[in-house]
Amino acid sequence: MPRMRQAYLPGAISGRSATELTGYIEGTDAVSGRPFMDELLDALAGRLDEEDLRGSAYERPRQQLVEAADERAAHALFLENRWTDGLPIVLPTEERVREMLAGTSRRPDEVVGRLAPAKFRERWEFTVEKVAVNAVMAGAGPEHFPIVLALASSGVTARMSSLTSMAAIAIVNGPIRLEAGMNTGMGAMGPYSRANATIGRAYGLLSQNLQGGSVPGETYMGTLGNNYAYTAAFPENEEDSPWEPLHVQHGFRPDESAVSLFLGGWYTISGASPRRRHWEEILRGALRACDPAFAPLVVMDPTAANDFVEAGFPGKDDVRAWLARNGRMSAGEYWSNGVVRAILRPLALAGEEPHATRYRASGDEPVEIYDAGDINIAVIGGGTANASKLIAARYETTVPVDPWR
């Protein structure tokens, strides 16, 4: 909306006092440099020009191919246009894209979906071929392509333009994990598998390129950025897990392949298994340190999962319930969180539970931070330590992979 009238404050308003906000109002517009109120009053009662009154309609045609003098120039072109994640890419030649397309039965010109960097931005459309181009760039192979297509079809971007610097985290379940050569075991969350690394990277690259960019200050506003955004696609170790797989908890059969998507990735905190002394206190502390706006995704080694079973937690739901009961903080602190206030307070005021009960709690009164249903658990890793982690991750959706084979 290039003609829309906007006025810009010099900084974030969260945590600013009334006096400071008055200073913002009496100060200058951060973009134009003019007095902020002049900008605002002009927006309301200023003159419009012909372009404002006419409106505008136009198309932005895209070429299928781009040309460069040689490979070095092509790499430079991709870097300059911000079509990469800063790391070297595999150039998407016609031959490589054709090979990638052999990884699916879908037609190259089929529309896969639409993505946007933020809810209020325009949504760009893309085809199977366009997803293949980005998968090639990431270094993926045809055997990974159905998972990449499923990620692309999800409607969830891995390049969300949130001030909070969100990343997307994917958990892959079902037979496709092993067929694609994903590493579910030792070092599954680290750089030890081409499949794990390139599937997550492809998701990031396709998100930024197919949604219309992810450029800091333009189409990306995350102030810190997020290193999960480089690659974060992890397969659950279903074979060594004592519990039902994550995708089954979200409505799929065990023999179906699916990928679950989470947004967040701001914190990663060590958890504890019941084999560790003071494990309950450790987990309460970890939960207390999580961001109250986004429930954690708990990843744990099969050893830790079996420790929970032995300690009387026969299913994931039993662990989720314990975590929900034990993740607590004072009502005052809970409701001071900006995202909680923005998203959950209106629901509380409308009487929706459990938010309304939490909102009625007085300042020092402890409230449960999370609903059990918002906490997810995935068993990942090599079975060599009772390790676990809590990752900020709001569950978004689980999408099927099999239709993209």
Binding site: T22, T93, F126
Partner: protein, 94 residues
């Protein structure tokens, strides 16, 4: 030797631009709604903005309202503004 590679970008939608709403000649005697899109501290900001109008442009009446939830449309609130307001300031955006 020149090489050709695929353009990795998606397809942007056709832009269907609308004209801007007609602007007021003056805000004097008008009702300006200050709409809280409930991000953290926006309520305090809008109160300060209303105070600025009261002190500097007392001929302008301001009314503070809030959307029902962050990022969601509030049809009832929009209807109220269309029926009773002359202009609106929506804040704060991201």
């Amino acid at each position: 030797m020149t090489i050709s590679v695929y353009d990795p970008r998606g397809y942007p939608p056709k832009v269907e631009g609308r004209s801007l709403a007609p602007r007021l000649e003056s805000l004097d005697g008008k009702v300006v709604y200050l709409v809280i899109a409930p991000f953290d501290n926006t309520d305090v900001f809008m109160e300060r903005l209303a105070a600025w109008f009261k002190e500097n442009r007392p001929q302008v009446e301001t009314r503070i309202v809030a959307t029902e939830a962050f990022g969601q449309d509030s049809p009832a609130m929009r209807a109220e503004i269309e029926a009773s307001g002359d202009a609106a300031v929506v804040g704060l955006g991201l």
